[in-house]
């Protein structure tokens, strides 16, 4: 039922044209369907709480019948992880849809209907991905969410930058998906099944013997690299901010980009069989986290800061996966989903307020909107990892996991990232919410719905944090770790305060002191340029070759054929003398030949 409602609403809105063009009613249908799905997911979660993280496939139908049994199955696989993820997805989707109601109020009704159709399709696909019992179904929904992401980034398709960003996101993630599909097909060729259940039970009992499992899992991991924006395929995510802000909150922060993390956590029994790959995942994750954090420090666009911080946090999750603690990765995924959605929706209100994305042209919002500022501050503190907010606990779990896995360098990278995270987030807070006001704006009140959603998320963040604080601590981390990272977070906050609020340190001087990093980070480490060049080189080179082949080989063959036909026709024309007697000659000759042939046979 959780799946069916968003899908039904997508079908209704997408296919019934007058409904789609009506806008508001379409939105209402979508929101109601999402609310229903949320209730369904919560009920299921409530019921399945006693069921521990066991392997219990719930409802499975066979699919793709073939000789020797079905090739794959579709269905719903409910376990603790899927349930929590479902609740997260439905909750954030619902809140974002309510928020969009106000945020996109100025859109013409047809566009609004389209928007809600995409939203419903996205919710359906994401839930399908989360609940899928096998790699094949996961891949199908994986591509569907990619499609929705493309459609929603390009929602304002008449803006060239949005259209470009959508195409870029699609291309870059497809690079990873190529690996993913190759990986699952190879895995299927080796084991004969796409389903998680037999694969995992075989992997856990040590009965899985697959040649080149390392290669296969690496290819599958590539899919996660693309989707979860890991280095070096992270470059699409900041550009994805061209979409409407609620979309950024939903897809590019809370849910879709975490699909890669979810997939790795889900398939962890298989990844666990390849320790070198896990180490690689941890390294790449930590490196991504650090790299993105440095870029976030110099970014002026508030949404891009958040995008880089998303990349950075995804790096954290992947590092936890690589360190052998998918539980920690998943916890961080959940908490991050909540507070990052809050951050984005808050940023949406801020942008709404100032009519600009540039943090340096904002300021003084806290006085005007203390509640909003409070909500944003809660999320920021959560992201920076300050006790007792949920980000603190999940980040501690990640750090402890990495430390326990004896990955010292990634651990240090992540610690540095924690410091930078606190710094850049408070840079935004000080610039946008405190600081002095720039110029005169008329200050429209943010619509009730947007405000209410933000407050709800802030309360949720606090509640999650308090729950985590009250929960018995089962960590095996060394006792000094929380204190150190807390100290780091406060150091970052203090630095941001000193630089952007109190003016003790001049940011420009800081930039010159760190000139090389500043230089590189401002230019995004030349990765965008590199990808652009590669894209041009490979794609244009390839298309030139294809163009040549098409022009000279394919066209050549066709032209040669037609020219040959013309010439042959010209020659044959001469045969037709038009004189009846010549034709009779032909007939007589033919009859004679037939007679001779009949005699000789």
């Amino acid at each position: 039922m959780v799946l069916a409602l968003p899908f039904a609403s997508f079908l209704a809105i997408g296919l019934i044209r007058p409904l789609r063009r009506s806008g508001r009613p379409a939105a209402a249908i979508s929101i109601v369907a999402m609310a229903g799905a949320l209730v369904g997911a919560s009920l299921m979660a409530w019921e399945s709480i006693p069921v521990s993280r066991g392997l219990n496939p719930s409802v499975v139908w066979t699919w793709l019948p073939a000789d020797g049994g079905p090739m794959a199955s579709v269905g719903v696989w409910v376990d603790g992880m899927a349930m929590q993820m479902c609740v997260l997805v439905t909750l954030i989707s619902l809140l974002v849809q309510i928020y969009s109601w106000s945020y996109l109020a100025d859109e013409p009704p047809p566009s609004l209907g389209r928007y809600y159709a995409y939203q419903s399709l996205f919710a359906f696909s994401m839930l399908g991905l989360v609940l899928s019992p096998g790699f094949l179904q996961m891949f199908v929904f994986w591509e569907l969410v990619g499609l929705c992401s493309y459609l929603l980034i390009g929602y304002w398709y008449d803006r060239p930058s949005a259209a470009r960003a959508a195409v870029k996101a699609f291309w870059i993630t497809k690079l990873g998906d190529l690996g993913f599909v190759a990986g699952i097909v190879m895995l299927w060729a080796a084991t004969g099944t796409f389903d998680f259940f037999p694969l995992f039970s075989a992997a856990e009992s040590g009965a899985l013997h697959v040649d080149r499992l390392g290669t296969i899992m690496f290819l599958i991991y590539l899919g996660a690299v693309g989707k979860s924006a890991q280095f070096p395929l992270h470059i699409w995510l900041p550009d994805a901010m061209e979409g409407p802000t609620p979309v950024s909150a939903l897809i590019h922060a809370a849910t879709m980009v975490t699909a890669g993390v979810y997939m790795v956590a889900r398939a962890y029994p298989l990844f666990a069989l390849v320790p070198p790959l896990l180490t690689l995942i941890a390294w790449v994750g930590a490196f991504t986290a650090l790299l993105a954090a440095t870029m976030a420090c110099v970014e002026r666009d508030i949404k891009r800061v958040l995008a880089y911080s998303t990349v950075s946090q995804l790096g954290y999750m992947m590092a936890a996966n690589g360190a052998g603690d998918p539980e920690a990765a998943f916890q961080h995924l959940l908490t991050h989903g909540v507070f990052k959605a809050l951050l984005f929706l808050g940023a949406g209100i801020v942008i709404h307020h100032f009519h600009t994305n540039d943090v340096f042209r904002m300021g003084g919002l806290f006085v005007l909107r203390p509640w909003m500022g409070g909500a944003f501050l809660v999320a920021t503190l959560a992201l920076a990892g300050v006790w007792p907010l949920p980000g603190f606990f999940s980040k501690e779990a990640v750090l402890a996991a990495v430390l326990n896995a004896r990955l010292t360098v990634p651990f240090l990278m992540l610690m540095a990232t924690a410091f930078l995270t606190a710094f850049y987030m408070f840079r935004v807070v000080f610039l946008a919410f405190f600081g002095h006001r720039h110029g005169h704006h008329e200050h429209p009140r943010p619509p009730i719905a947007m405000d209410a959603v933000c407050r709800a998320l802030a309360v949720l963040t606090l509640a999650l944090g308090i729950r985590a604080a009250l929960a018995p601590h089962h960590g095996d981390a060394p006792a000094w770790l929380p204190w150190i990272s807390l100290a780091w977070a406060f150091a970052g906050i203090a630095l941001a305060w000193a630089a952007y609020q109190a003016g003790i340190i001049d940011p420009a001087r800081m930039a010159t002191a760190l000139a090389p990093i500043d230089f590189l980070a401002r230019r995004r480490y030349f990765l965008d340029a590199l990808f652009g060049a590669m894209y041009r080189l490979v794609l244009l080179g390839l298309s030139r070759v294809v163009g040549w082949v098409d022009r000279y080989v394919v066209d050549g063959v066709v032209n040669a054929l037609s020219a040959g036909a013309l010439h042959a026709g010209d020659r044959l024309r001469r045969l037709q003398s038009g004189r009846a007697q010549d034709y009779v000659y032909g007939v007589v000759l033919g009859v004679l030949l037939l007679l001779v042939w009949a005699q000789l046979r």
Binding site: R574, L575, G578, R579
Partner: protein, 99 residues
């Protein structure tokens, strides 16, 4: 007389008719050649009817003659029309269908 004698005669007449059709320049001559070929066939039919005591051949021959008459009438009419239009009945000049 043996059947083969009739057949040889018919073959000769047919060959002469064919030769006429192929070589005559005059359209009327070509029609005459066609007549000869048809009559060679008639000889065959009559000969077989006689030697196999089968009336069918004779009946066929009657039909063939009737059709031949009709054909000559139509053929000559066409020739006359062609002559009126083109002022010639030389077969070599009638090459409207040349490609």
């Amino acid at each position: 007389m043996a059947l083969s004698a009739y057949l040889t005669l018919a073959a000769l007449v047919f060959a002469i008719g064919l030769f006429g059709v192929l070589t005559r320049r005059n359209a009327v001559g070509i029609l005459l050649g066609i007549e000869l070929m048809l009559n060679a066939v008639n000889i065959n039919l009559v000969a077989f009817a006689r030697f196999r005591a089968d009336l069918g051949g004779l009946i066929f021959t009657l039909f063939t003659i009737a059709i031949t008459v009709a054909e000559v009438a139509v053929g000559l009419a066409i020739v006359i029309v062609i002559f009126r239009v083109r002022r010639t009945i030389e077969a070599d000049h009638l090459d409207l269908l040349r490609g």
